[in-house]
């Protein structure tokens, strides 16, 4: 048997969201043993290894095959809702983002992926204020040539401009989205199980803000609030540009915001924050509107949240289909080469379940 790579045991454990203790229980060893496996001090016995495979649902090769690309050197990702998240969830979802990198790098060996198309911006995270963020949001719209009207669908626009976007159920109420630059390309993962499309739209814009503004910044507990604040301001400015959105505020009642929601697709709550940022609403008016929303029971779940559809990401799925259609790889080979559970790859790529479990060997040309 090939030698087990200790880090892979940790990776596999984290990918299923288990703590050391939970993992030790699941594979029938002590917590200390798990530690020794993950540091490489001791290699698991055959029967334990079988249990590790069963618990983590990864193929044996996952634990023994070195990868061409290494994600270890990347910055800590930026999380939407970090403070509330439990550590195992954070690690689990972080691994998904890392795996998206391996999948995209694998595809890029055969396919030219959409080139990264983001403007070179100068942003001083410590000193620049909201005015600069407003300018940068406008600058990005101009750079992408999307005008200043409502942006009704964001995932295809992000992917078109080279950002790898993954939509997955994250089974974690406290996590909306996560992003990070990995190997010269921006990556973003957002929760498919977030019920509100308006909120999804804002989450994508929020993560876009981190990718644009905070590329070189290592997130920590001291700068987190500032980063989140800046990302929210950018997301608001990007989705509701000052020059166009502000002039549509003919009225500041909940009903009126609701009518604007049909057009701008963002939540009423986000519009209220935006109006506050732009000085259209004073703090007392904002307080009054929150009370109104509470009284109507729409503070957490608003009407029209899903009155419109959002497109799912398509780039990774298209890449996989191109490999299969051009007979470069068979579905099973994609899973084999990526040395990962096919279900995981399908989920990351947004491929229909079972696509990569097709064992039928396609006509030759495999490389």
């Amino acid at each position: 048997m090939s030698k087990i790579i200790p880090e892979r045991i940790r990776e596999a454990r984290e990918s299923v969201g288990m703590t050391d203790d939970q993992f030790a229980d699941a594979i029938g060893v002590s917590r200390q043993s798990v530690g020794t496996y993950e540091t490489g001090a001791v290699s698991p016995r055959g029967d334990v290894f079988s249990k590790i495979i069963a618990v983590t649902r990864q193929p044996p090769a996952f634990f023994t095959t070195p990868r061409k690309h290494n994600a270890a050197r990347f910055h800590t990702p930026t999380w939407r809702s970090l403070k509330r998240m439990q550590r195992p969830d954070r690690l689990r979802i972080g691994r998904r983002l890392e795996w998206a990198y391996y999948v995209a790098e694998f595809m890029a060996e055969y396919i030219d992926m959409p080139p990264v198309n983001l403007p070179a911006i100068e942003f001083d995270f410590e000193r620049d204020g909201h005015e600069r963020i407003e300018e940068l949001a406008d600058q990005l719209r101009e750079f992408w040539n999307v005008g200043f009207g409502p942006i009704t669908d964001l995932a295809p626009l992000l992917e078109y401009n080279g950002i790898i976007v993954v939509e997955e159920p994250v089974n974690c109420d406290d996590m909306d989205a996560v992003s990070r630059w990995q190997g010269g390309r921006p990556y973003m993962l957002y929760a498919a199980d977030q019920e509100s499309n308006s909120r999804k739209l804002f989450n994508l814009a929020h993560e876009l803000a981190h990718l644009v503004l905070h590329n070189a910044i290592e997130v920590n507990s001291r700068n987190l609030d500032r980063m989140e604040n800046q990302a929210n301001r950018f997301a608001g400015a990007f989705l509701m540009p000052r020059r166009t959105f502000a002039r549509e505020i003919a009225n500041t009642s909940i009903d009126y915001f609701m009518s604007l929601k049909g057009r701008w697709r963002v939540a009423v709550a986000a519009m209220i924050y935006r109006c506050k940022d732009l000085g259209i609403l004073n703090p007392d008016q904002v307080k009054y509107l929150w009370k109104q929303m509470n009284a109507r029971g729409i503070r957490k779940k608003e009407p029209l949240d899903n009155a419109f559809a959002l497109s799912r990401p398509t780039v990774l799925a298209s890449a996989a289909q191109m490999l299969i259609e051009n007979k470069i790889k068979s579905p099973a080979q994609i899973a084999e080469d990526l040395v990962m559970n096919a279900d995981d790859i399908e989920s990351i790529c947004a491929l229909p379940r079972g696509t990569l479990q097709n064992k039928v060997v396609a006509l030759k040309l495999y490389m």
Partner: protein
């Protein structure tokens, strides 16, 4: 010769329909919110005034959107020639117009002296030549109405640009903004078009060459 219909469509092109409907809808919503938010009006008396307040909301919103460039028309509030009321003069190309409420898409607005005078300008000029032929000349300015109506709950039930004849209850030209086949871009000219990320993907050149080479080899066999 340009027809009345062509003149109307040229003055109010299809890419303005979406924002014209927006001006009407937002004006109505804003007026209804005003009524709801003012205790003095949030009652049956407020309902009595709803039509007038909606009119104020629409004129205000239309003016704001013209000022902001969302609607490419010139407009200004001016006193009506008779009486003490005001209306919004809208100018576009060789047309001018006003906003009026009508009962249904084909109905004419309530007949008033001001409206009679305004529509009289749609009378074709008649010239009699020496050989007694009558030549009709189209009026230099086409007078138009933006006719609308909204349900009590606020939904717009119709919205049409229409040019009335000068003296009979006939339409010289009309376009229904709510059913017109609007080209996609008119929904909002500033809205980004759908992009397809796949258009930015292709097989790498070396991979494509290998595929081509293998295909050639297979063909030879």
């Amino acid at each position: 010769m340009t027809t009345f219909q062509q003149r109307l469509e040229s003055a109010y092109p299809s890419d303005t329909y979406a924002n014209t409907l927006r001006a009407l809808r937002e004006g109505i919503a804003s007026a209804d919110d005003t009524i709801k938010g003012i205790p003095m009006l949030a009652n049956d008396v407020g309902d009595d005034y709803r039509g007038l307040i909606r009119r104020a909301g629409i004129l205000h919103r239309f003016t704001e959107m013209c000022k902001a460039g969302d609607l490419p028309f010139q407009c200004s509030l001016s006193p009506m020639p008779r009486g003490t009321w005001h209306w919004l003069d809208i100018y576009s190309g060789d047309t001018n117009g006003h906003i009026v409420r009508t009962e249904d898409p084909t109905a004419f607005p309530e007949d008033t002296p001001n409206r009679q005078d305004a529509r009289a300008s749609n009378m074709p000029d008649l010239f009699e030549t020496e050989d007694e032929r009558i030549i009709r000349l189209s009026p230099p300015k086409l007078y138009t109405w933006l006719c609308y109506r909204a349900a009590p709950a606020g939904q717009l039930s119709h919205a049409l640009w229409q040019a009335p004849s000068a003296d009979a209850n006939e339409w010289l030209a009309r376009v229904n903004l709510m059913v017109a086949a609007v080209p996609k871009k008119s929904d909002d000219t500033k809205r980004p078009g759908k992009v397809d990320p796949k258009t930015k993907m292709k097989l790498r050149d070396d991979v494509q060459q290998l595929i081509d080479k293998n295909k050639k080899n297979e063909d030879k066999k």
